[in-house]
């Protein structure tokens, strides 16, 4: 089974040279720490920076230099800064090659819910609805089950949707799965996790064909 860092490491293997990438808050943010050697990518943060770099050294924090999670950051050489409309032109105009975000629920048709629990928690969608409505390549990074052990990979989402039929791939602590017309297609198992464990933790339709390899993670 993977921890959050492991999920980030596995998704980092999906990065391709010269891609522009938008990372959501939480597990996706960690991916920036595991960029494979020889791969050059630029991170976009939707509050208005392309070429987002690491956190500043202590004492060098700048209140005017933050990411969409409101964390202090630094710009990389070659970074650019722009207003929110330009930022979402990059996103809606499909100039970003990969979007990775977290989710509360994903359905086996690619629907995603991650912004509201009616009557309990309403934080808002932020940029998530714009991101999922437009991106060609959307990976969800999340735990396979919630804190009560209930599957987050469902036949149908129960929470208010963020977007419809948009997720392409899901990477969890247990598995890598593609969204296909037949449902979640199991591609890889996390180290030490059996197909049966994944089946038990997946409520949505799960397609298992042949031998399922174990993920290769350092």
């Amino acid at each position: 089974m993977l921890d959050k860092k492991g999920i980030a490491k596995r998704i980092a293997q999906e990065l391709q040279h010269n891609w522009y990438v938008n990372l959501g808050i939480g597990i996706p943010t960690l991916i920036a720490n595991y960029i494979p050697e020889g791969i050059d990518v630029e991170f976009q943060s939707e509050n208005g920076i392309l070429g987002m770099g690491p956190f500043p050294f202590e004492g060098e924090e700048d209140a005017d230099m933050i990411n969409a999670g409101k964390q202090t950051i630094t710009p990389m050489p070659g970074a650019s800064i722009f207003d929110s409309a330009t930022s979402f032109a990059m996103i809606r105009g499909q100039h970003i090659q990969l979007t990775v975000l977290g989710a509360m629920e994903v359905a086996d048709n690619g629907d995603i819910a991650n912004w509201k629990i009616p009557g309990k928690m309403v934080k808002g969608m932020g940029g998530a609805m714009d991101l999922v409505a437009s991106a060609d390549n959307i990976i969800v990074a999340m735990m396979h089950t919630n804190k009560r052990g209930k599957s987050k990979l469902l036949r149908q989402c129960t929470l208010p949707l963020t977007g419809v039929r948009c997720v392409k791939k899901v990477v969890t602590n247990l598995a890598v799965l593609d969204i296909t017309p037949q449902g979640f297609k199991l591609l890889e198992r996390a180290p030490g996790v059996s197909v049966e464990e994944i089946q038990n933790a997946t409520e949505g339709r799960l397609v298992v064909e042949g031998d399922i390899p174990e993920m290769q993670i350092d």
Partner: protein, 233 residues
């Protein structure tokens, strides 16, 4: 052209209860601190505020929320503010949550004379309720309308008395878009400079969009999430 006013009090003198305001900023980054403080002092209420976020409990728009001066918020993300969440869930505060990119474009459209536009964001979700759906290139889109405000209030790094503005870092965010969409737009700046000092090639907001400008004071520029890395020794 001289749009200079003395301070936040003078700039906000004719903002009244019940008006619609736009306030620039993302989280606490690039918010008009001086004008927010002046609005708290004025004690007006029933405001509709269009702003990406609602501040935190004790800073930014959170200060207006605490005093119940806001009737309605139009925002994309309101986490990090317990009082906001409490007022919203109890129904004291009206809240219209809209996708961040749609919010940006709705402000820009309002300032640019475009009454509405189609966007894919929010199709198939609560956001699409009651909105026209149309297919372009085989994909569904929803009709979003432009936003304008009685007053737009923005914060810039440098500006001159013509109203020309330059923003610093990611404090730019919604500020240039909202600057266009106010019937009256107020700009508070960290540094007021003489006309000609700002290179015309690098103006972010041309002065035509600004009606009042003043040099702010005592900027706190609070950091919401202070994240740092260790120096290798």
């Amino acid at each position: 052209m001289n749009k200079l006013v003395a301070n936040a009090k003078e700039a906000t003198k004719d903002i009244e209860s019940g008006m619609t305001l736009m306030l620039g900023g993302f989280g606490l980054c690039g918010i008009p601190e001086n004008c927010i403080a002046a609005l708290v002092d004025k004690g007006i209420n029933n405001l509709t505020c269009i702003s990406n976020n609602a501040g935190v409990d004790d800073f930014g728009l959170g200060l207006l929320l605490q005093k119940r001066q806001i009737k309605k918020m139009i925002s994309s993300y309101v986490g990090e503010n317990d009082e906001f969440e409490r007022q919203m869930l109890s129904g004291e505060l009206e809240v219209d949550l809209i996708p961040q990119g749609s919010l940006a474009s709705r402000c820009q459209a309002g300032g640019a004379g475009i009454p509405a536009f189609f966007t894919p964001a929010g199709y198939g979700t609560e956001v699409a309720f009651g909105k026209e759906v149309r297919y372009f290139n085989g994909k569904p889109h929803i009709l979003e309308s432009a936003l304008t405000a009685d007053f737009a209030i923005v914060k810039a790094w440098k500006g001159d008395r013509y109203g020309n503005l330059i923003f610093k870092g990611t404090a730019r965010n919604f500020n240039p878009l909202m600057a266009m969409a106010g019937k009256i737009t107020i700009a508070e700046v960290e540094e007021l400079v003489e006309p000609g000092e700002l290179d015309p090639n690098f103006i972010h907001t041309p002065g035509i969009f600004i009606q009042r400008i003043f040099q702010g004071e005592k900027y706190e520029k609070r950091i919401e999430q202070r994240t740092v890395r260790q120096r290798l020794t």
